[in-house]
């Protein structure tokens, strides 16, 4: 099989060996969950419950009107204790619904019936129902893109342009993270099924499961699953594609370019080149939503890092404080060595002040880095070596862009592609002077957007 890739990028140390062989564990006992009301990219939601309400597992607890919204469901059965602002995994304070689990039935008391605890939707056959029904189900299940910003899945699955290819993003190019790899190995059938469902909904003739070379051992399993799938027997075309191990191979745009050779136009979406890219976690959530009627109330994540003495791949209810996963013994941390906590991968994740912060729909991993791994450097002056320019997967010129941003020349910065930056962090990674390039671009984008907004207002 030909190994495909894109131009540019870098190869940070993978560090996946720590957790790649560990089977996914399920966290069963949860005492308390902190569910952020807003976990998607789009308009804010309103809580549907109030303090003191009893909720069932899977019950909708927040929703809003509008296309760019996705409801949130109770991950466990329990009682709403509080609704108040808490720190979320993006470091900002957001309204959270705090649910305390029902106490385990005392001895001799009747165990509550499952239907009293859970409130799932009826199963739905995606291959038999209409497209509208399927999309409604995806939204009702609260599914968002589980890899990145939390883009509503039902919007992504209703493109305005014809789709030729569905790509399952199994690249998992971030160091440390192995949850997708484990999912590919342990749930290959479901992954194939998820691709098939997606293909059905967007009416795509072909599906590709893209896997980086460092996960080549998952390929035979996937190929077996494809061969065994009733969907491929019914004529659906699904295949596996190996990709070179390189960061940011899992970036949506890079993935599309690697597989199809096409480039997503600046400011455009994957559908502009006839592609839909789905995260592995998202595919699994969709399968569950159709098969079991189960909304997105739990997700898999990797807990790893140098200070994590016992790494793990776990499935935990959304809203579980990571500290509770560790307290439950699924993973262990050496407090002494702990230097940094990151929600997400080391390249794009967010450094947070503690690991009390709950798991969210888009939390693919939690890294507990030791003090050596978390060494950050002070900036030195740019020596203009040009490494960032060769590494930039978007063919931007980070060094020049940084100069434009620093000198406040936002017109120039926009011209040379500030808004095209996907913030993958490759440029900062390769910089020998340890320039905080991506951070600079983030700040620059914020200012540029504000300027443009002002301009638009003035124009009016």
């Amino acid at each position: 099989m030909a190994v495909k890739t894109f131009k540019g990028g870098a190869h940070p140390p993978e560090r996946k060996e720590r957790s790649s062989a560990l089977a996914i564990q399920r966290l069963r006992e949860v005492k308390l969950v902190v569910v952020p009301v807003n976990q998607h990219f789009g308009a804010p939601l309103q809580p549907l419950v109030k303090v003191g309400d009893s909720v069932k597992r899977g019950q909708k607890i927040a929703d809003a009107e509008g296309r760019m919204t996705v409801p949130v469901h109770a991950p466990i059965a329990g009682v709403v204790k509080k609704i108040e602002p808490r720190t979320q995994s993006n470091n900002s304070d957001g309204s959270c619904i705090i649910i305390e689990a029902l106490p385990p039935p005392a001895e001799g008391q009747p165990v509550p019936a499952p239907e009293d605890l859970a409130d799932f939707m009826p199963p739905l056959d995606p291959f038999a129902c209409s497209k509208e029904e399927a999309l409604a189900r995806v939204r009702a299940a609260g599914i968002v893109g589980m890899g990145g910003a939390g883009f509503p899945a039902h919007v992504k699955l209703a493109p305005s342009k014809p789709i030729a290819l569905v790509i399952a993003n199994g690249a998992e190019c971030e160091p440390f993270l192995t949850i997708d790899e484990r999912s590919l190995i342990e749930r290959a059938d479901d992954v194939v099924e998820g691709v098939a469902i997606t293909m059905k909904i967007v009416n795509a003739p072909e599906g590709v499961i893209a896997v980086e070379e460092n996960k080549v051992h998952a390929v035979p399993l996937l190929e077996k699953a494809i061969a065994a799938s009733p969907r491929t027997r019914a004529g659906m075309k699904i295949r596996v594609q190996l990709l070179k191990t390189k960061y940011p191979q899992g970036g949506e745009k890079m993935l599309i370019t690697a597989i199809t050779g096409k480039e997503v136009p600046s400011g455009g979406l994957p559908m502009d080149v006839g592609c839909v890219v789905q995260n592995i976690g998202t595919l699994l959530a969709m399968v569950e939503a159709f098969k079991e009627g189960k909304p997105l109330i739990e997700r898999g994540l990797t807990i790893s890092g140098g200070a994590c003495t016992k790494p793990a791949n776990v499935i935990a209810p959304i809203g579980t404080p990571v500290a509770d996963i560790i307290a439950a013994g699924l993973a262990q941390v050496d407090e002494e060595k702990l230097g940094m906590v990151i929600y997400g991968g080391p390249m794009m994740g967010v450094a947070v002040p503690n690991y009390q912060i709950p798991v969210q729909k888009n939390t693919s991993g939690v890294l507990l880095l030791d003090t050596i791994e978390s060494k950050h450097y002070d900036e030195e002056t740019c020596i203009r070596c040009g490494r960032c320019m060769r590494a930039c997967s978007c063919r931007l010129s980070p060094a020049l862009l940084a100069v434009a941003v620093e000198s406040g020349d936002y017109k120039e910065a926009e011209k040379i592609g500030l808004l095209d930056c996907i913030e993958c962090g490759t440029c900062s990674f390769v910089c020998p002077s340890h320039r905080h390039l991506v951070q600079r671009f983030r700040v620059g984008k914020q200012i540029l957007r504000a300027l443009k907004q002002k301009e638009a207002q003035n124009a009016r």
Partner: protein, 281 residues
Amino acid sequence: MSVILITVIFAAILAFVLGIALGFFQKKFHVERDPKIDEVRAALPGANCGGCGFPGCDGYAEAVATGRALTTKCSAGGASTAEAVSKIMGVDAGAEDLVTVLLCQGTKDLAVSKGDYVGIKTCRASKLSTGSVKACSWGCQGLGDCVAVCKFDALEMGDDGLPHVNYDNCTGCGMCVEECPQKLFTLVPRGKKGSIVLCSNRNVIKANVMKTCKTGCIKCEICVKQCPEKCITMVNGIPVTDYDKCTSCGVCVQKCPTHAYKLLETDVMGEKKKVPVLAEA
């Protein structure tokens, strides 16, 4: 002798022709414009040296007259010209004399920090990346965006991690108000009397305020209850003084359990500015 004669005749004719031509062209190609430009232009030396960064004296005069340039840019004319130009332009600039006040007292010792921030040393960047370096989401980031933007040397980063205002230099231009990502600055008239809360937290969980900052407003509303003039109201979680009624009696300042209340005339702008906040509170 003939040389002198020829010279004189030549010069007379040349200059006369030039004079007529200039006068004629000036009339013929006359273009209406703001008389203020001409006024400013007249006050400038006319060296057209370009030292001001504008294309010639005309360019600079136009920039000044339309408010695009400072009145002090003419280097050829020096201080006297600057004065004259300011006089022409500055007559109607008699706005209120404002100064800036920082609405945060979260020094390094009093406010709890969230972690050790590494990255670009600007407040905007730290806020974007960490939410807030301080455990208090509303607190001063202490990285001096305000100091950097101040053109008048009126702000200085103190050792306590907060910017300090030098009220002699502050012109109330409002650049810091614009720049602060936490919106912690406010402009008040110079010499204003009355009390003010030097805290901006709008934390709805009162119990958490004390965990993050020892001098934060904990929304106890003692000030509202104790004020003899009844001039304090809670607005959006922060007590606000009605300066029409405030008599600077100082009751709120004394009663405030976290020392968030201060008197503008003494504690903020007065001689003994920044009375150290007691840590035991």
